[in-house]
């Protein structure tokens, strides 16, 4: 009934929200490429102190070209080495490729003969190629020759076959392998492969069928499915396996993939189905690095941004703010720039400030959605005045870029709702500051002094332990609302440098602290005397945070009783708490009290007495050895029997003195068997003898 009807409505709402697409909360501020990048480029590429290789020369020239820096900054444009390499018959495809790249940028030579030699060299290399990088250099070199000198023959002998052998190296997750005998797949290799395949299409687009191209588009889609992202909406590529020797890091990997994608998109007219937010996220990734400190990283960054700037799929627009701290007292204006990644102007658009979310109530916007005005001379968008509802504090401003031309909506990525942290600072008004001494029971005021918290004060008060100290003041924001700063402390410091810090609590605008000295007598260690008063009130968005000495209070405390805690000794050196401490002597369990040795020995002697008594008694009874067998064989057995028993007892003595149980048991086993045999013999002999005597 009601549920069934509301369900399609809510479903529709969900679909609508999803179709808006970019609900990603992007919340960091990046800046487009600007002058710091340019000066860093000049510094990094010219400070090598040695002559650059062709690859490094190409990277420098390309970076300078994108940033608009003149080539003269680079001392040599490498032309001599370019011509050497191009003419040499034994140059590798990699050297030819970079030489041609440098040639394209510095225009060293355009002689047809030179290019013909290079082209034939590259075509020969293609027939003998084994790895993806070799394909890349050869095909790329041929594309460059075609651009520079169109009448040189760069036709590939088997474009379709080459395309398919490169495509064969692709993996199911969109990554590529470097070669047929290399099992590891790499995202960097995917970027290189896409660039190479784009090159083949540029050379022989008639031969490459649309089915092959759409297969590569699928690979691109799968590759972009594995893109990684941060919570703030930044997207980047990285390798799955980072321990491989060829690992180059997320910057290089993302850069190469972006270059490969943009060259493939421009070479084919295939529709690449990647959402705009991915491009915005990639742009954010490259820009969030700021200015890299390494020339190769700078090249990767700038090259990737140049490809993002004019790619056929989706050009990201960057929102940047020159200042994120706005002062209410100085009446700062909110200024926003919207540019492309390289800092070029954006197409005509409207910039709306959708919400201003205060940090402690993140769901409710304190302002209505409003449009920022455009200053065409400065190229930025601004708000004349901050709305009245914006007060001192930390905010998140939510912007949205709205493109006017529907054609632009398809080719630009606006980044959805962009969250920007903004700090609004201002002068907090402190008024009605009063410090007073009150009589505790009745609350009547004994002394009361007004304070001027714009400057240091020098009041002097006196109180005894039966009274209370009361400090009160009011804080309000420039808009007149209550404000709770991060810190509001009152410090009392005694002459002996013992100090106590109290937090001044508040309810709304009124801040009040009452110190009841009767209860604080023990905390103050019963120390009477002069206490310095200091008040600290501060916050990061408060422009007039202060720490003022207020004056003195003479406290009269009672005498300390005997068991009162002593104040902790305040060390002269505040770092003395980090000194070496006294060594702790560990006390283990106290050993048991043992009897005096004399007593023990006496009892040892005493315990032998019964044995002596036993022997004496035996003598008295008249024991004799008459029954000892006289004939030799039984006699020996009898003797051995006695010896055996003695041996076992001796073994027991040894066991007690030093042996362990296992050894003892082993020896006992042997002795016991011997004793058993002997004992059996002698005792059975004795039994037989006595039976004979009885019967006889």
């Amino acid at each position: 009934m009601a549920d069934r009807r509301s369900m399609p409505v809510s479903l529709l709402a969900i679909i609508a929200t999803l179709s808006i697409g970019n609900v990603v909360a992007a919340s960091s501020v990046v800046h487009p490429v600007s002058d710091p990048h340019r000066s860093a480029a000049v510094e990094l590429f010219t400070s090598a102190g040695r002559s650059l290789s062709l690859e490094e020369t190409y990277e420098a020239l390309r970076t300078f070209e994108v940033l608009g820096i003149g080539k003269a900054e680079l001392r040599s444009d490498g032309c001599s080495s370019v011509l050497d390499v191009l003419k040499l018959a034994s140059s590798s495809p990699k050297e030819l490729y970079y030489a041609l790249k440098v040639n394209q940028l510095s225009k060293c030579s355009s002689e047809r003969a030179v290019f013909e030699v290079a082209a034939s060299r590259l075509k020969a290399a293609l027939s003998d190629v084994s790895s993806l990088l070799d394909y890349h250099y050869s095909v790329g070199g041929l594309v460059l020759i075609k651009d520079l000198s169109p009448d040189v023959d760069v036709a590939l002998t088997d474009a379709k076959g080459t395309f398919q052998s490169i495509k064969a190296l692709s993996q199911s997750d969109g990554r590529w392998r470097y070669g047929s005998n290399n099992p590891e797949s790499s995202t960097y290799a995917a970027g290189v492969a896409l660039d190479t395949l784009a090159g083949i299409v540029k050379l022989e687009d008639s031969e490459i069928g649309s089915s092959m191209i759409s297969a590569v588009s699928n690979d691109i889609k799968k590759l972009f499915d594995s893109i990684e992202k941060y919570d703030d909406g930044t997207f980047y590529f990285d390798e799955k396996v980072v321990e491989s020797l060829e690992y180059r890091g997320p910057l290089a990997t993302s850069s190469v993939v972006v270059v490969g994608l943009s060259s493939f998109a421009s070479a084919t007219s295939e529709k690449i189905d990647i959402p705009g937010e991915v491009f915005s996220g990639l742009a954010k990734f490259f820009l969030a690095i700021g200015v890299p400190g390494d020339s190769k990283d700078l090249f990767y960054q700038i090259n990737a941004l140049a490809c993002l700037e004019d790619n056929r799929v989706s050009i990201p627009l960057i929102l940047s703010l020159p200042a994120t701290v706005l002062s209410l007292s100085k009446k700062d204006q909110l200024k926003v720039r919207v540019t492309t990644v390289l800092g070029a102007n954006s197409p005509p658009l409207k910039l709306k400030l959708r919400q201003a979310l205060k940090s402690d109530s993140a769901d409710i916007s304190v302002i209505d959605s409003q449009e920022l005005k455009h200053d065409s001379s400065g190229g930025f968008y601004y708000l004349d005045v901050l709305p009245d509802s914006i007060d001192v504090g930390k905010y998140k401003f939510v912007f949205q870029i709205l493109l006017e031309d529907p054609e632009h909506k398809k080719s630009y990525a606006t980044g959805g709702r962009i969250h920007v942290p903004i700090y609004v600072s201002g002068v907090v008004i402190v008024e009605n500051a009063v410090i007073s001494v009150l009589d505790s029971d009745l609350g009547t005021v004994d002394t009361q002094k007004k304070l001027d918290l714009d400057k240091q004060n020098d009041i002097s008060l006196s109180a005894n332990h039966l009274q209370k100290l009361r400090l009160s003041f009011q804080l309000s924001t420039p808009r007149g609302l209550a404000y709770t700063p991060h810190q509001a402390f009152l410090r009392l410091k005694h002459e002996t440098k013992v100090e106590h810090i109290f937090v001044v609590g508040n309810s709304g605008k009124q801040f009040e602290l009452v110190l009841d000295f009767l209860r604080l007598v023990e905390k103050f260690y019963y120390l009477s005397g002069k206490y310095e008063l200091e008040l600290a009130v501060g916050d990061s968005v408060m422009e007039n945070s202060f720490l003022w000495p207020l004056g003195y209070i003479e406290l009269d405390m009672p005498e300390a009783p005997e068991k009162a805690p002593r104040p902790p000794p305040v060390a002269a050196d505040p770092h003395s708490r980090f000194e070496v401490k006294a060594e702790i002597q560990h006390i283990f369990r106290a050993p048991e009290k043992r009897p005096p040795e004399a007593l023990s020995l006496a009892f040892l002697g005493l315990s032998f007495l019964p044995f002596i008594g036993f022997l004496g008694g035996l003598l008295r009874l008249g024991v004799n050895l008459k029954n000892f067998p006289s004939s030799p064989v039984p006699a020996t057995f009898a003797f051995l029997f006695q010896v055996g028993i003695g041996a076992v007892l001796g073994l027991y003595m040894l066991f007690w003195l030093k042996l362990d149980l296992f050894t003892t048991l082993k020896v006992l086993g042997l002795l016991g068997t011997f004793l058993l045999l002997v004992g059996h013999r002698i005792l059975s002999h004795l039994a037989a003898t006595s039976a004979k005597m009885k019967s006889a």
Partner: protein, 115 residues
Amino acid sequence: MARSTGEDAQALIRSLRSAYAATPKNLKIIDLYVAFAVSTALIQVVYMALVGSFPFNSFLSGVLSCVGTAVLAVCLRIQLNKDNKEFKDLAPERAFADFVLCNLVLHLVIMNFLG
């Protein structure tokens, strides 16, 4: 009356002594041995009472050695006594062998527990 109890006691003791004199010598030897073992145990208990039972395992080991061997000797005496109809068919050598074996086992355990 007092005099008769004193005289009765003396008469009792005299008759006990004469009856005891009639026991075979081997049984008397065993009785002596038992007395020796028990008195050793008593001395150990007195010592422990004086100095405390600190190595308690040693005390137990000593006392139980004495008491154990006394018990085994009493068992031997029962088995050797000719008036005892139950053990009429048991050879005295066999009883003695049992006594020796049990003592050896007892003393192994005692030595282990002595510490």
